[in-house]
Amino acid sequence: MTEEVITEYPTTYDAIVIGTGISGGWAAKELCEKGLKTLVLERGRMINHITDYPTANLDPWDMELRNNVPKEDKARQLKQSRTGYTTKFESKHWFVDDLKHPYNETKRFDWMRGYHVGGRSITWGRQSYRLSDLDFGANKKDGHGVDWPIRYKDISPWYDYVESYIGVSGENLGLSQLPDGVFEPPMELNCVEEHLKEQLSKNYDDRLLTIGRVAHINSSKVFNGRSKCQYRSRCRRGCPFGAYFSSNSSTLPAAELTGNMTLRPNSIVHEIIYDADLKKATGVKVIDTETKETLVFNAKIIFCCASSMASTSILLQSKSDRFPNGLGNDSGELGHNIMDHHLGAGASGKFDGYHDKYYKGRRPNGIYIPRFRNLGDKKTGHKDFLRGYGYQGGAGRGSISEHVKELAYGAEYKEKMLEPGEWRMGLGGFGECLPNHENKMTLDYDKLDDWGLPTITFDAEWKENELIMRKDMIQQAAEMLEKGGFKEIKTFNNLAAPGIGIHEMGTARMGRDPKTSILNKYNQIHTVKNVYVTDGACMTSSGCQNPSLTYMAITARAANHAAKQFKSL
């Protein structure tokens, strides 16, 4: 880089929020509603709710290549396309250009990123499950990682608060390992899913099947300009009805409404400035991607919500005499303990029957089978692995049935293939990943990006416990389908690499001891109390539940704590 010219903005904000995704949106809303003048920084472009969802209403035939992408475009997203679904034409604009935004892989890591206002809150899977005390106590119990500094009772009211605000459709089951919530009416199971539900209850006393819990409005209740799910299942494109929760449809407009938010897109935060005398952070350094200027913005409180890996990268880049290894990194744990959920292991089967039954509406949701392994009692304990997994999946009439397949081609074949095919049902496990110091990300200062900033190098892999757990995920899925009367059961085991679950987390973990963790029980950096990290980086263990709801609850809790602290600053 040439000599740096830094423009310092004279305004001192009450708070700065880095990032506008699931966590950043919540931090912005809570801080602004508590009266704090808040600068919200986003590295990517502006996205306005509804008007900036260009593919939201396209039918397949409205797209030249029917949702495929020209190979020249695909070549720019080879890493982003590793999921197989993210970079279709309908949603490719929500994922980064890998050539412009490179990272390095000592071991393969599938890092899916969305650089724009709203981040991955636009494309998230919307599955929303609470963690329980089984999860918050897990590390302490088996000695992997460090103990969480919070328990379920600390976060439970914030789950209530968040669920009531965003709308989560689901069913209460009274399970200790998967706490009940404040729910919108549940979506419906189809007849084959209903069939498996009954069969599970008949054949097992330790497991049950329920409809997925999703962040969708499913009633006529009013949610600040958002309305009921229309069952189009085009969520990933951005929803013109605002039926599912995103920052763009929900938290950012709420923050905007207070008059306290300044939203600044095209602003890459790369450093938090630390003042050794004050023992506090005083602001952030930003590159404006349009003017290429380096700017400094000052604030009393800073929230890191840039996503797990990006927040950690900012902290690692924030070096000073006091913190030569990155802000708050006395423990040496910053960048370590990467976790994700391992998935792609399970089974599917065909169901003969219900030929005269079908469904209406493209349900943007599947089924859920809550965790039934290692719940803390003898009966559910598994001798080969620690922790557990849940299943997601569903049934549908898709594939062409056998007898139509035999027709192969021709007039009769054509008429038959216009009818619904056979019923198939799939179950795929979502497994917990143990925290492990060896799984890490570091910065490479030899490979700089377009902004002259260091790039991230990943060195993480699935370890033994995950691999052993997968065998049970596959075996139990096949067994449940078999007991449910399904035929032609096929198992699958697509291991892929960490990151594929798009639940990457853990690189600036919360803990009780500053010697082994970065953040305290309110998500403050132990040694720099006016910096909060509330995205996935804060996670001490992973649970097996989809994590976004927890990020929201943790962020809301931390922001309210910060607002209280602010008054005494």
Binding site: D59, N68, E193, Y359, K360, E415, L418
Partner: protein, 201 residues
């Protein structure tokens, strides 16, 4: 010019084929949705062969349009041209060459190939026994000439079905089209919901 060659090839085929009405529709674009097209990836001859195969795979019937009416061959060519990776393009090209060879097409004689020749080829491969298909799809046999033909025809058939179902005419008028369902019903009689048809979206 290319287009004239296409027309010539198809025109000469007409006299011999029972699939004439569909191919006519290709020619008389003013009467239907179908367009006369010049391939972007395939050769003219390959385009003619593809058109004839697709017409037999999803022919026009009394109740529903055929694949040619919704421009399936043209779309397949576009898809290969714009979307296929180089490796898949080479594979497809090799497959088309094998198909041409199996149909005894050399030089400019594509016009004398009869519908029954195309039909025999499709029947021989796509209606082969399960054991035979297992052989064709086995990784060890990927360079086997018959396996190449089988896999290419299967690809053409599957892509045709998908392209047909995702075309505007079929997607909006033939399949059950409901762009904004508004509500969800988990389980109800098929007849009641769609009259026996699959949902379009």
């Amino acid at each position: 010019m290319n287009r004239r060659d296409v027309l010539k090839g198809l025109g000469l085929t007409l006299g011999y084929t029972i699939a004439a009405p569909s191919i006519m529709s290709l020619l008389h674009s003013c009467k239907t949705e179908a367009k006369v097209w010049t391939p972007q990836f395939l050769s003219i001859t390959e385009g003619i062969v593809l058109t004839n195969l697709v017409d037999l795979i999803l022919p026009k019937t009394e109740t529903t349009p055929g694949a040619l009416e919704v421009n399936v061959p043209e779309f397949i060519d576009l898809l290969i041209f714009k979307v296929y990776e180089d490796e898949d393009k080479i594979k497809l090209k090799k497959g088309m060459e094998s198909i041409l060879k199996a149909l005894n097409i050399v030089d400019d004689n594509v016009s004398i190939i009869r519908t029954e020749n195309y039909d025999n080829l499709l029947a021989k491969y796509l209606r082969s026994s399960k054991e035979q298909q297992k052989f064709y799809t086995h990784k060890d046999n990927e360079n086997n000439e018959d396996a190449i033909i089988f896999n290419t025809l299967t690809n053409i058939r599957n892509t045709s079905v998908w392209a047909y179902k995702t075309s505007e005419l079929v997607g909006e008028n033939i399949l059950a089209y409901d762009p904004i369902p508004g509500n969800q019903i988990g389980c109800a009689p098929l007849e009641e919901l769609t009259g026996g048809k699959a949902w379009s979206l």
